[in-house]
Symmetry: C2
Subunit: 206 residues, 2 copies
């Protein structure tokens, strides 16, 4: 019985160590992918950047595609934590939408990932390459615009904002945010204010 | 005298052949760069794709950066020919702006370059890398939005469209077009209609 408990403890420790290593690697991976896209990820580069062994990282992720998909998953969690959950503290509708936009702008302005928007960097690279990586990026895209549309629908239905098509407005908000990300990287500092003005024009009172 | 004329003819032929080769290589280069970005260009790949010798292409362009900059120049000419000049047949203002948008949408929908929008593919790759390539891409960006803003200013000043901020509207149009390009590549066919509706909403009569 005791040996079973001991064995379980050892397994737990190993799992914990594995999951910490995984997290360390994936934290670095989302940074690299925001800068040089998921194509720029390699076991060698991750080993150099994290100080872990290349063989160890390879054992954890096996193939480059598995690593790319794990990086997208990790980014999704990171994005929920950084942009979505803080905004959830605000009441549904226009206030939560503004909070989502504010947190998103902070994410690409500081920037919290080295290369700015993860999606912009990776969709541009993978949009013409059918496969699971492109599908996962497209799914991120859908989740994000659906989230924006949901708050817009609520705000409109509650009479907080004037009549609009939530799907169209979500598309427009996503568009100006993504262009502001690129413009920021190119040194155009005025783009963020243009994005904000676009959002505010959509949120006018009825 | 005769030999001078002959020598001049030989030089002319050589220049012509050089310029034809250059054009052949650069036509292929803008396709590759729209798909895999300017980072995906190599003398070897261009040689394979065009059937020309790698050494010959290398002699023409010398370094990868020279090739990348020549490709951006070639794209600029190609874009003027494909999107800008056909629209110039329309009267200035709202009509020319609509024609610019129509030709731009045709450029990414057909798509005329394999990977769709050249700028989207390359800005995402180079926006965090200071240097002449990024500067040339940023210049393309400025030229395009200035062109949109010019037609919007004219349309507004002539009373064709309602009061608006031309710089802001140009940013919004550019944003929805670029997002429509990515959405098209990801299989979202509704994005083009959303982009068109955004443009039409900006062009309402006063």
């Amino acid at each position: 019985m005791e040996s079973v408990v001991q064995a379980a403890e050892i397994t737990d420790k190993r799992l914990l160590r594995g999951s910490r290593t995984r997290r360390l690697v994936l934290d670095r991976a989302i940074d690299i992918a925001s800068l040089d896209s998921l194509e720029g990820l390699s076991f060698g580069r991750l080993a150099t950047d994290t100080g872990l062994s290349k063989a160890g990282i390879q054992t954890l992720f096996r193939s480059k595609e598995t690593l790319q998909l794990a990086t997208i998953d990790h980014f999704r969690e990171w994005f929920l934590e950084t942009v979505v959950r803080p905004a959830a503290a605000k009441p549904r509708g226009a206030q939560r939408l503004r909070a989502l936009v504010d947190h998103w702008i902070a994410y690409v302005s500081d920037p919290l990932l080295e290369g700015g928007c993860f999606q912009v960097a990776n969709v541009a690279e993978f949009d013409s390459r059918p496969g699971p990586v492109r599908d996962a990026l497209a799914e991120n895209q859908r989740m994000w615009t659906a989230r924006l549309a949901r708050e817009l629908t609520y705000a409109r239905d509650q009479g907080e904002i004037a009549e609009l098509d939530p799907e169209l407005a979500a598309f427009q908000i996503d568009a100006v945010l993504k262009l502001a990300n690129s413009a920021l990287r190119l040194g155009d500092t005025d783009a963020v204010s243009k994005a904000r003005r676009t959002v505010e024009a959509l949120l006018v009172s009825p």
